[in-house]
């Protein structure tokens, strides 16, 4: 039987705003499958986003949804989670929203290890504003504000998250659709701050400026560069050159923020929730 996505979709809110060929819809479907696998209760689930194409996702999902300001999703979500630790809180957004204007909130959410899951759709570009370079646009690639090639080096979001203290970090791609929900399920189940980076495509503002002739070519590129962590173990550095690791990249058990704050309440002699 076909999977019933409508279970978690708000009636009357589709079609979505994303361009043909954009991978955000693939990620949204993966997220919905993950929510279904975990049996997440709609009233007890908050989906929080910032600004950008990917950040429009919460509007389509039938939960408590919060479309905040540019870059601020992690900080708003921290407030929701701290006030109601019993809620499942999922953040969604893009690379510019999360790692440029929202970079400070992102690394501190990682550091606090607060029990939320951040799904970052990394399409290497500011799509909504028409294709300006982002912190993940590769060096020398073209964007509307790097007509001579991008002079900036780029962030590795997963490494950034691990370095900042996130205790679950995974990476998938929009091509490997069947892996997305599995990564998100594990991320939500993990107690602590989990980051799932999904390498995505933006044919409209990134692909056409960087010699991708079609969406298929962009998807094939994601297929070619992705190497599962297990497979990488058997590969030489030469073989791994230009490749991107996918799967669960990092996992550790560390004290979670809301649980630690509950201990503060107990030490202060306050009422247990």
């Amino acid at each position: 039987m076909a999977f019933d996505y409508e279970k978690y979709i708000r009636p009357g809110k589709l079609p979505h705003i994303w361009c043909p060929g954009c991978g955000h819809g693939i990620v949204m479907k993966g997220m919905i499958r993950a929510m279904d696998t975990l049996g997440l209760e709609k009233n007890n689930t908050a989906i929080v986003s910032g600004i950008g194409c990917a950040s429009r996702l919460p509007g389509y999902i039938d939960c408590c949804t919060l479309h905040t300001a540019h870059g601020r999703a992690a900080a708003f979500a921290t407030g929701v989670k701290l006030a109601k630790p019993e809620m499942t809180v999922i953040l969604v957004g893009g690379d510019g929203d999360g790692t440029a204007i929202g970079g400070n909130h992102f690394i501190h959410a990682c550091r606090r290890n607060i029990d939320m899951t951040y799904i970052i759709m990394n399409n290497y570009i500011y799509g909504m504003t028409g294709g300006q370079f982002s912190p993940t646009t590769p060096h020398m690639h073209k964007a509307s504000t790097t007509p001579y090639g991008n002079p900036d080096p780029s962030f590795d979001i997963a490494k950034l998250a691990i370095g900042a203290g996130a205790t679950f970090v995974a990476r998938g791609t929009a091509f490997h659709a069947n892996q997305i929900d599995k990564l998100i399920v594990e991320a939500i189940q993990h107690k602590g701050f989990s980051v799932v980076e999904i390498l995505d495509d933006c044919p409209t503002t990134y692909g056409r400026r960087n010699k991708f002739k079609s969406v298929i070519e962009m998807m094939n590129r994601l297929k070619e560069v992705a190497v599962p962590v297990k497979a990488a173990e058997k590969m030489t550095p030469e073989q791994l050159a230009g490749k991107v690791l996918t799967g669960i990249l990092y996992k550790e058990d560390k004290p979670e923020y809301c649980s630690e704050y509950q201990k503060v309440i107990e030490r202060a002699g306050g009422a247990a929730r």
Binding site: R10, K13, K42, N43, N44, A46, V48, P58, G59, D62, C63, C64, T65, L66, H67, T68, A69, R72, A75, F76, A77, T78, G79, V80, K81, L82, A83, K84, E86, M87, N104, H105, I107, H108, Y261, V264, I265, R267, A268, G269, G270, A271, A272, R273
Partner: protein, 378 residues
């Protein structure tokens, strides 16, 4: 048994006023001269099962505040000038998404880093015009430790009643001086909570104006689920660019405050009945003004004090009535370069001269300065 009395600093009183009002969530970032509010609440909130979080920056603090408030908390943040500038982005979010919360801002010298430990009254325009776009603004300016306690409670009440961010702005002198404070008994001061929805969950709309200009607000994690955005929105909370809807919603958001000025505007009239010279002052400056008025009276000068307690909405109607009744002059002493002066000139329609005393050197305005200005009035 008598009432509980203490000797408190303005900032400490603000924290205790918040607790009286039912505050159970604080998000902030350290900044002089407001940090004591955070310090007191970091100790007090966990005792009642409340939440305190020190965020990574001022913007993050404002964001966490709004998130906590949407999850049903009564939320407070404290800051000062530079922090208020940073918070403006999300104060606008709170206004358009209609999220109740209280911002306590201690006024220090500015612009920029200015004089972190010097008093000022130069953030009052920022309270209304700091965030972009049209939006409602409520700003309260207490003049004593006792009043700081009470105005913080009133700020929570107005915020919950009108579903909008409310600011309390003592100057640094009020925030850091110590005075006797008498704590009200439980129940002595009314505490207002936001109107909760009564409709079945499937009928709930977060901006349903069939309940009036202030629609009931549900909490995330309750039986109601809904969408919140910083985009112009329809009654169901989803974005719209439909001209008529945007116009009506923008007007309603401002009308919540501008249509209820008599409920929100608070002021004190001191010796105004026969006053020919009216000093219009607020915060610590109003204490110098009161002293100057008393001195003037002993010298036969008919002076009085109009003390602003609600700065926004500005008490335009009351000041115009005074001007129309006939006064020789208004005097506006303030620790800025004429913010209140301009407002008083505007609302009194040229019916009387408005003389300013402006000080931005980090020193308080003393009664002698005000008395001297009174003597200039012909």
């Amino acid at each position: 048994m008598g009432k509980k009395v203490a000797f408190l600093q303005g900032n400490e009183a603000a924290a205790h006023g918040a607790l009286y009002a039912g505050c159970n969530f604080f998000a902030g970032y350290p900044i002089t001269p407001s940090t004591e509010v955070a310090e007191v609440l970091s100790a007090e909130l966990p005792k009642i099962g409340g939440k305190f979080i020190q965020m990574e920056d001022e913007i993050g603090a404002m964001a966490a505040l709004l998130g906590g408030a949407l999850a049903g908390s009564k939320a407070l943040t404290s800051t000062s000038g530079p922090g208020l500038s940073l918070k403006q982005e999300l104060i606008g979010y709170g206004c358009i998404a209609e999220i109740p919360c209280v911002i306590y801002n201690v006024m220090r010298g500015g612009p920029s880093t200015g004089m972190p430990t010097g008093p000022s009254q130069s953030d009052v325009m920022c309270a209304k015009w700091g965030t972009h776009g049209d939006h409602p603004a409520i700003c309260l300016v207490p003049a004593s430790v006792q009043e700081t306690y009470e105005e913080v409670i009133r700020a929570f009440n107005l915020s919950e009643k009108y579903r909008t961010p409310v600011m309390v702005m003592p100057d640094e002198i009020v925030a850091h001086m110590r005075e006797r404070i008498v704590f009200p008994e439980k129940g002595e001061i009314e505490v207002i909570d936001r109107k909760a929805p009564t409709v079945p969950p499937e009928q709930y709309k977060p901006y349903d104006t069939s309940f009036g200009d202030v629609p009931p607000l549900a909490a995330f994690g309750s039986e109601y689920r809904f969408h919140v955005t910083g985009l112009n929105k329809m009654q169901d909370g989803f974005p719209t660019t439909k001209a008529a809807v945007v116009q009506e919603e923008e007007e309603r958001q401002v009308r919540k405050v501008e249509g209820n000025v008599d409920d929100i505007v608070k002021f004190e009239e001191y010796l105004l009945d026969d006053a020919e010279i009216v000093v219009v002052a607020f915060g610590s400056t109003s204490r110098s003004a009161r002293y100057a008025v008393n001195e003037a009276r002993t010298e036969g000068i008919k002076a009085g004090l109009f003390r602003i307690i609600t700065y926004w909405p500005f008490p335009e109607k009351q000041l115009l009535a005074l001007a129309q009744r006939g006064v020789k002059a208004f005097i506006t002493p303030e620790m800025n370069l004429g913010m209140t002066h301009g407002l008083v000139k505007g609302c009194t329609e040229g019916k009387a001269p408005v003389l300013g005393i402006f000080r931005v050197d980090g020193e308080p305005i003393n009664p002698g300065q005000i008395l001297d200005k009174m003597k200039e009035v012909k």
